[in-house]
């Protein structure tokens, strides 16, 4: 029997977590919450894709030996560095706060689980040890291998939240915690 791919495994995980998040009560579907999660996911993914693209450009230009290429290399390095991207992390902070406020505005029995999922996401993006921001700050320029794997991990977390919203939209309520 073929082993499931990582994408398949993550998909299953996401569905499971989505169902667990719905938990013992089914709060009403909130379009604004859905939009906030989607916007946050898009912003994070776009930023990682931009950083990956800059990494490739830096690698291409690394062996350059003329002034134009050296200037382009310096510019790419500056754009990939933490300082040039600090405003992005500040924006994420605000987006995560808006999302949590929106979710907490109408508390249900499922709210603590959703709050925890948002807090885990915040920890992995901004505040936790080894978060995307802290690694970026420590290292200056993030490596391609790290970015690819971090992108995969973060998108799995977003998918769990989006699955939760989709389950609510479908009007389902599944009991557990």
């Amino acid at each position: 029997m073929r082993r499931p791919t990582l994408a398949q495994q993550l998909h299953r995980l996401v569905l499971t977590v989505g169902l667990v998040l719905v938990a013992c009560s089914a709060p009403p579907y909130d379009e604004q919450t859905d939009r906030l999660i989607s916007a946050l996911q898009y912003d994070v993914d776009s930023q990682i894709v931009m950083l990956l693209s800059l990494d490739r450009k830096i690698a291409e230009l690394a062996t350059a030996n003329n002034d134009i290429a050296r200037k382009a290399l310096a510019e790419a390095r500056a754009r990939a560095g933490y300082d040039a991207n600090a405003a992005f992390y500040d924006k994420l902070d605000s987006q995560l706060t808006s999302l949590r406020l929106r979710v907490d505005a109408l508390p249900t029995e499922a709210t603590p689980n959703i709050d925890r999922a948002i807090d885990d996401l915040r920890a992995n993006l901004l505040t936790g040890e080894g978060s995307l921001r802290s690694v970026h700050q420590k290292q200056g320029i993030l490596g391609e291998a790290y970015l690819r794997n971090e992108r995969r991990l973060l998108n799995a977390q977003f998918q769990a939240l989006l699955s939760y919203e989709l389950v609510l939209k479908a009007g389902a309520g599944i009991g557990k915690k």
Binding site: Q9, V17, R116, A117, G128, G130, S131, L153, Q157, K177
Partner: protein, 108 residues
């Protein structure tokens, strides 16, 4: 020498089950996908070990552990402390495998 990952998955599951105890049967269906994802990330780390810094390795390790903790602690029977211990035990198995295969790897 490359790591034989075929046995690592079951060793990771055993490590988590021994921390979680009797509640493992309840949480296993949801957690198994996360455990597989953890092992796959570890495989990616092995494949790209020469392009990864200590900070990046630790970032991936901690993100993965938090993701597993999130799945485990969403079940009423499992406390956050137990979830953290189980996630650490899971990563310890893959870290040991990496250390054994690549003792000179600086970030382990």
């Amino acid at each position: 020498m490359a790591i034989d990952w075929s046995n690592i998955g079951s060793a990771v599951e055993q490590a988590v089950a021994s921390v979680v105890g009797a509640d493992w049967a309840i949480v296993a269906p949801a957690a198994k996908a996360q455990l597989t994802a953890l092992v796959e990330i570890a495989q990616a780390i092995e494949a790209e070990r020469d392009q990864m810094s200590a900070a990046e390795y630790n970032g991936l390790r901690l993100s993965q552990q938090r993701a597993l903790e999130g799945v485990l602690s969403s079940y009423a029977a499992i406390s956050i402390v137990v979830a953290e211990q189980a996630a650490a035990a899971a990563w310890n198995v893959v870290a040991q495998a990496l250390k054994t295969a690549y003792p000179a790897l600086s970030f382990l």
